[in-house]
Symmetry: C2
Subunit: 237 residues, 2 copies
């Protein structure tokens, strides 16, 4: 029986022009022999791999789509190189595959079939924001998106704030760039004066901003974010 290939989880950038800063030479060297990739978007992935300047020709690489519409039934086909002993790389649209993206489906399949999975170090806006927030890194929860609608958002924020206080747990949220300022409005309205709120935008990018202040100070200072990827973290005291 052939030895199975490994599934490599390949990090990509989370901000423009940041590959030199966040993609190590170890990652570049390790992915050099890989020819088969599972990617959320072929055009972006091709452009990314091409930007790393590690392949003589990008034409010798094979791409299959692994996105939120991929079903389990498709996995045996797109993962088949692994059973022939060939390594396969997973690349998502941003950051580390498997965290807040569809990569986890391929990883699950790998575990079910005794295929070794190698995660590689790369940028995660969640982790970098948490580090730089100064909030509790001993206990934290990533909760994805908050509801959009005003009343629902207010209720959810209060619930998460209570959880944060009772568990001493940092609560982490993500938002789509065009809704950043609406979410800030909800947070500043619903959170308690003394709750510490960290706003982290364009992490690792040229305009990176990571700032933690009590909610009452944010209210006084005011804040308007550009349409850039952002994270919101809070800890109720």
């Amino acid at each position: 029986m052939k030895r199975k290939g490994k599934l490599y989880l390949i990090p990509t950038t989370i901000a423009d022009n940041s590959a030199d800063k966040v993609i190590s030479s170890y990652v570049r060297e390790t992915i050099k022999p890989i020819r088969f990739f599972l990617v959320e978007d072929i055009r972006t992935a091709r452009r990314y791999l091409s930007s790393l300047s590690i392949y003589e020709s990008i034409e010798e690489l094979y791409f299959n789509i692994l996105d939120k519409n991929t079903t389990e039934a498709e996995l045996p086909k797109i993962m088949s190189p692994l059973f022939e002993g060939k390594p396969v790389g997973v690349i998502s649209e941003s950051g580390c595959p498997g965290v807040a993206d569809p990569g986890a489906l391929a990883v699950q399949y790998a575990h079910q079939n005794g295929i070794k999975v190698e995660p590689m170090v790369g940028p995660s806006s969640i982790l970098l924001a948490l580090m730089a927030s100064g909030l509790n890194g001993q206990r934290f929860a990533f909760n994805g998106y908050l509801p959009v609608e005003t009343n629902e958002a207010a209720q959810a924020i209060k619930k998460f704030e209570n959880d944060s206080r009772s568990k001493n747990q940092t609560q982490i949220f993500i938002e789509t760039p065009y809704r950043n300022n609406a979410l800030i409005g909800h947070l500043l309205k619903s959170l308690h004066d003394e709750t510490l709120l960290c706003i982290a935008s364009n992490v690792t990018g040229e305009t990176e901003m990571i700032k933690t202040l009590p909610v009452k100070t944010w209210r006084k200072e005011g804040i308007t974010l550009p349409k850039e990827p952002a994270l919101f973290l809070f800890l109720a005291l």
Copy 2:
């Protein structure tokens, strides 16, 4: 008024002999001009910086302790180079400072004093294990340690399993190496047959093992971990 220095959050390795794999050349270049460091343990930090071969002499570096016994009253003194425009680096005993270690105290102080904080990409066993687990990366909680005592452990595991099921949230725990196998015993006893359990040991190390199986399969196969750092993640279906 002098421009303040930046507080750099400097990642370190999480497994022996792994610096080439997990510490990028960007990190090495960025920390080269830094002379002042806040560290959990001076001997380890000195050895780590020395291993990076970026300083002509390690003797020109200044170290202050920032550990779990550091009080807020000590911060103005150990952070003082920042107010003279000099960069300061924070290094913890393992991985990324500010996540599950005392680094957060320095970061809080920086935010209170308008000092910019730069988190740098490095290895986090929590994030790498989550990526490679195939479990839900869209919603997860890091909960630190589970109770040691058998009955308390069983109760806590059941509570976290219920939370996991109702919120579709991956639950992440850490354990000290010599208690790994006791914790595995508790988990295999208390968790439901179908709950997916990921065991990740010595992440990024030569003996790295990351494996996700339903609890019933772990029970059948059995598992004994070496005394190495490990993480335990589960998702109740």
